[in-house]
């Protein structure tokens, strides 16, 4: 029994249940939130240490031998994702202490946050395709409730689009699982991977793989299935936005990485080529959409879409270097994107708006905040020596080596346009003077008696430091990504670890 494999799911689940039991005491719930997410991070680090040590960790639920039981499997990629979940969870929990309105806290904000984290962790760790569906639903249900907490008009409108498209994607996923089960007669991912090659009609496997691609593509917000994301991510309160921005779409990306390296690798020319062009168009439409926006969080939301393109590009090229780049990109992106949303929350606290035309003058009053924005913003655009530069560099180099020059050109152009968007935010929010129609400046110049809480800055500074560390001290991170990519390129290792070397 590998305890570290079960803990990342158990900790948030227990914390969620305890928070529900402590419904009346918001103070205890807050304490528990920070404690449990901290423990989650610790468990993630433990898991990562074990997986780099032993390669794969497998736990068979109820001690039934695989493929009959539901298995939890951790390879290095899954362990990395769990560590990132822990980091983001902890950052959001601390940030929520300051930013979450007390009305939301009283209506179950913390239990929902824990359940969301449990769903995310479960989706990363499961080795059973139907179980993956169940974890997706756990995560979705918590995210639905978090998205609508507060019940404002924009939230309701955003939630209808978010709920509909995500349920639609779940139905496609479920249908695909059913069809796959009808063909191979098993749900264990390793067992499926072993059996798909002996199916009578390989064309049908490709058809099913397309269903998976569409379903996970909706969840990952890939072109042309991303419309729900910019319509809903800017509506809830900012800690929720940041949590979603960091983790939820990446679960879709992770699922794509898992099934398209493990299971659907028999017709790579066809499936991964579709992924390649999907990735290119995702990058392009996302960044162009952002160029047309003038609301802080909406710009950032469109940039999530465009960044997803880079991660998919890493998967689509399907070479060892490209996968390294993809994994590295995921690590960099989760930290940076969450950080940008958190900064937008601080500027909102100072001037009471997310609209660029109502913001300004922050550089003059709070230069350190401007610096804190600049680190993740330039990292997102890929300026050396920040983390984004190395992430982009690896992906671009991999696509050059594969000879995909057009896609490379698009990737570089998108980097440039990302810089344009970030400079737009910089100029509007930090550089220009405070607009004359903004009258309430008491928070900005510090004359208001409620000051900015320290809890706003701890996570922002922490995440910015992580960005710097990944950038300046990238070699160990690169080696980690290399190990993860090596496992992804050799699905035989995964199959052997789960099924214990038995053949069909």
């Amino acid at each position: 029994m590998n305890l570290e494999l079960v803990l990342p799911i158990l900790i948030p689940l227990t914390a969620g249940a305890l928070s529900l039991a402590l419904w009346r005491s918001v103070r205890l719930q807050r304490l528990l939130a920070v404690l449990a997410t901290g423990l989650l991070l610790a468990a993630g680090v433990w898991l990562l240490a074990s997986t780099t040590d032993q390669g794969f960790l497998v736990v068979e639920m109820g001690s039934w031998p695989a493929p009959f039981s539901i298995v939890l499997v951790a390879d290095i990629l899954a362990a990395i994702m769990i560590v990132l979940t822990g980091i983001i969870g902890l950052a959001i929990a601390v940030y929520s202490l300051a930013s979450t309105p007390s009305g939301h806290e009283k209506f179950g904000y913390y239990p929902l946050m824990h359940l969301l984290l449990a769903g995310v962790a479960g989706a990363f760790l499961t080795g059973d395709i139907f179980n993956l569906f169940v974890w997706f639903e756990v995560m979705l249900l918590a995210s639905f409730a978090l998205l609508t907490l507060g019940g404002e008009r924009a939230q309701m409108e955003g939630a209808i689009k978010y709920v509909t498209l995500n349920l639609f994607s779940s139905a496609i996923f479920l249908s695909a699982v059913g069809l796959l089960y009808g063909m191979v007669g098993t749900l264990n991912m390793a067992d499926i991977a072993q059996k798909v090659n002996s199916v009578d009609d390989p064309g049908m496997i490709t058809v099913v793989s397309m269903l998976f691609m569409v379903s996970f593509g909706i969840k990952a917000a890939a072109f042309p299935l991303f419309f729900w994301l910019p319509a809903s991510y800017h509506t809830p309160q900012v800690a929720v936005s940041a949590l979603f921005a960091g983790l939820l779409t990446k679960v879709g990306v992770y699922a794509l990485y898992r099934v398209f390296t493990l299971i659907f690798t028999q017709d790579v020319d066809y499936t991964h080529n579709i992924l390649l062009w999907g990735a290119a168009l995702t990058m392009l439409t996302g960044v162009l959409g952002a160029a047309a926006q003038f609301e802080f969080r909406r710009i950032l939301s469109f940039h999530i879409v465009s960044q997803i393109g880079y991660m998919l590009l890493g998967l689509a090229l399907f070479t060892p270097l490209a996968l390294i780049g993809g994994v590295f990109y995921i690590m960099h992106h989760i930290i940076v994107k969450t950080n940008l949303f958190l900064v937008s929350g601080i500027t909102y606290r100072l001037l009471g708006s997310y609209e660029l035309k109502n913001l300004g003058g922050i550089y003059r009053q709070r230069p350190y905040l401007a610096l804190l924005f600049l680190i993740p913003a330039l990292s997102l655009a890929g300026i050396p020596p920040l983390s984004g530069f190395f992430a982009k560099f690896i992906v671009v180099r991999a696509s050059l080596e594969s000879g995909e020059y057009l896609v490379t050109a698009i990737a570089l152009l998108v980097g440039l346009l990302t810089l344009y968007s970030m400079i737009k935010i910089w100029a509007e929010v930090f550089w220009k003077k405070v607009p004359e129609h903004v009258t309430d400046l008491s928070m900005l110049n510090g004359k208001n008696q409620d000051k900015l809480s320290w809890a706003y800055f701890v996570p922002v500074v922490g995440l910015a430091t992580s960005t710097l560390i990944i950038g300046l001290y990238g070699q160990p991170i690169y080696l980690l990504a290399e190990l993860a990519a090596e496992q992804l390129m050799n699905p035989q290792l995964y199959i052997k670890a789960v099924l214990g070397g038995q053949s069909t």
Partner: protein, 115 residues
Amino acid sequence: MATMMAYVVGLLFAASIYMMLRRSIVKLVIGLIILSNAANLLIFVVSGLTRGAPPLIPEGASGVVSAVADPLPQALILTAIVIAFSVLAFAVVLIRRAYEVVGTDDLDKMKDTDT
């Protein structure tokens, strides 16, 4: 039997997509309900319909002796039904709240968060 069920599943999917494309949010939710049922029925059909052969081990034997129905799809469907139930319960509450807050059930008028 399987052919007929295939048509039924196809029809359900078509009906659900049609309902989801209507402008009223109530019809949208009805579409989602039909969609989840269609997916469940699909699992049931594609994993093979076996009639009159319950997966029971006869007394004295150590395993099943002849071909029996696969019990797993039913477990999957049961799980999916429970999940769909909870999600749809949320969706119904959501459209009610949305109707109260926005004051319309017309999806074409809920465009504030786009563009």
